[in-house]
Symmetry: C2
Subunit: 372 residues, 2 copies
Amino acid sequence: MLRLQGEMIRGGTSKCWIFDHHEVVATGVDADTLLLAAYNAADPRQIDGVGGASSTTSKAAIVRRPAEPGIDVEYAFAQVGIGDERVEWTSNCGNCATAVALYAVHNGLVPITSDSTTVRMLNVNTGARLTGTIPTPGSTAPDEGTAAVPGTAALGVPVLLGFEDPAGTTTGRALPTGRALDTLIGPAGPAEVSLVDAGAPAALFEAKAFGLDGTESLTEFAEAVPALTVLRREAALAMGLADRNDPVSHAVPKVGVVARAASYRTTHGTLISQDEYDLAVRMVSMHAPHPAIGLTSAVALATAAAIPGTLAHSVARQTADGTLRLGTPAGVITAQAVPAPDGASPTVLLHRAARRIARAELLVPVLEGRPA
Amino acid sequence: MLRLQGEMIRGGTSKCWIFDHHEVVATGVDADTLLLAAYNAADPRQIDGVGGASSTTSKAAIVRRPAEPGIDVEYAFAQVGIGDERVEWTSNCGNCATAVALYAVHNGLVPITSDSTTVRMLNVNTGARLTGTIPTPGSTAPDEGTAAVPGTAALGVPVLLGFEDPAGTTTGRALPTGRALDTLIGPAGPAEVSLVDAGAPAALFEAKAFGLDGTESLTEFAEAVPALTVLRREAALAMGLADRNDPVSHAVPKVGVVARAASYRTTHGTLISQDEYDLAVRMVSMHAPHPAIGLTSAVALATAAAIPGTLAHSVARQTADGTLRLGTPAGVITAQAVPAPDGASPTVLLHRAARRIARAELLVPVLEGRPA
């Protein structure tokens, strides 16, 4: 039985385990084998491991001190399989990034020299650079806070999460096709789409193309998911993320619909008026409606809404300071695009929260290099 | 933020956190408040806590050294709410008892003096006495083992779990009504039932009364659950577990159907022939089919099958040594009723497995005596 130190941290609406790279190496087995066994990925209920048996609770980040200057922490994000002995290392997770930032201030990965500490992070999966700014009053790392995010009533330490120069991380361009508007062929014929790459590659359609107004409940929006799943594949091809011969990815690009703000009720029943937000959005997560929105998708939307000619720009309320309030099924999430120097694309800031749940020593059943 | 030491242990097909009573007391808040906050019971996804957001992964046991001789460990079992700020302290959990036994040998709650150690446990919720016998070769507590139980492919330390003198724990009698056969009025008219109390109070019907043969898949059996839910209430009244004015319990008594062994396929597709087991059983868990069977229900069945005149006795294959192989949706679970001295009811033995998953320090958000 291997031993592995880890911290269970809530970042936003995800539960992430954070591990130190050197501790992982010290176990003598590769990270995939270790995580599959630690989470009991083989079991759809993950009953023999620390996994939570849902996509938002079967996540890990492995952190290390960086090789390059200007970065405090490198992290690799892992989406650990559920009833599936595979670990996906292909994407970033903004919620886990907030957890990594909180971990960093608590574990000496960044010096705390004032009442506010900014952790500069590199996501090695995608090359994305992020910052997490955390209040450190009296130069101490906080365990408590009163910040909240849509999707949970729990409170935590406020983390201002910044996506630095997010445009083109995956493809090199904010608009991978060079156009703000493309047409893809879906199951119901041609559909206009804006293909953007910022935070994550995303294919954004207009809600009305699917007979929707963008304020639907999760159940109502679910009816459009099969068509959007087909279109996700077409978008991946158009953006150069996949070839026809590649297996179909259900994670890349992000896919969803946008619409003008209109009043709606959140999943928990709160009425949101059309004046309380700037852009209605309903995203897909794998094969189901996303209960809120992934943070990397929020970055894509904030970037798209700032580019004239995109569908997001055409329906979003424009604000003077780059603030974009996104109306999601869980509530309103506010993103702000802040001009960056040196020709970099605008930094996108998101107000998030994180909380350390537990510090643990995991007992990991690995036999002869394979999960037991 | 409160600190609380705990161990996450898989017991059979449940994931249980085990806490020490003195550590709980030392936090200065009551156990309900502490567990509700530690598990984030308020959230249906338990995203801000150590709960696993399912009934089998939102369990805890609080252990202490006993006040009375003849017992090594007392434990209180807690079923922590999911999207519901309540802790249920009304029942026992056999899977958590196996976890408690493994915790006890690892934490010095019982002396290890030979190659096998028996932990004598008292469940303070119900007054049930159990034993957990664990191999301790070389007088050391094991972390690894190759024992398996139906419902998970994971391996663990073998735990022979014994329910001591299980009859009448709740009501004082193995047959609370004094009869092996009763008739209750359900939604489709009168239904014969055997009401037994051993391990837990249970109401056992014949499958054919619901048009079933007892080998149904979970989906097929689900159609009988609404009727059985109504009958559970009638059984609770008949057994003296509730009055007409009491709120309806969805946990007490256990309710299910029995039938003669016949070949069937488990949920995972394994073919089980009629010779491989002795009694077909399909139980209800709250409002849904149980994926296997609760251990206390297995004790009730083993006891009922040994009492002439009960429905279980009439359809079970009788064996010479008290062994009863139960055919459940997840596979075959073997119980053995062993004669006990001094007029006590037969001890029921079950072969189970447990594994320590993690040792942790939990950070619990409690503000002013209430979950934050």
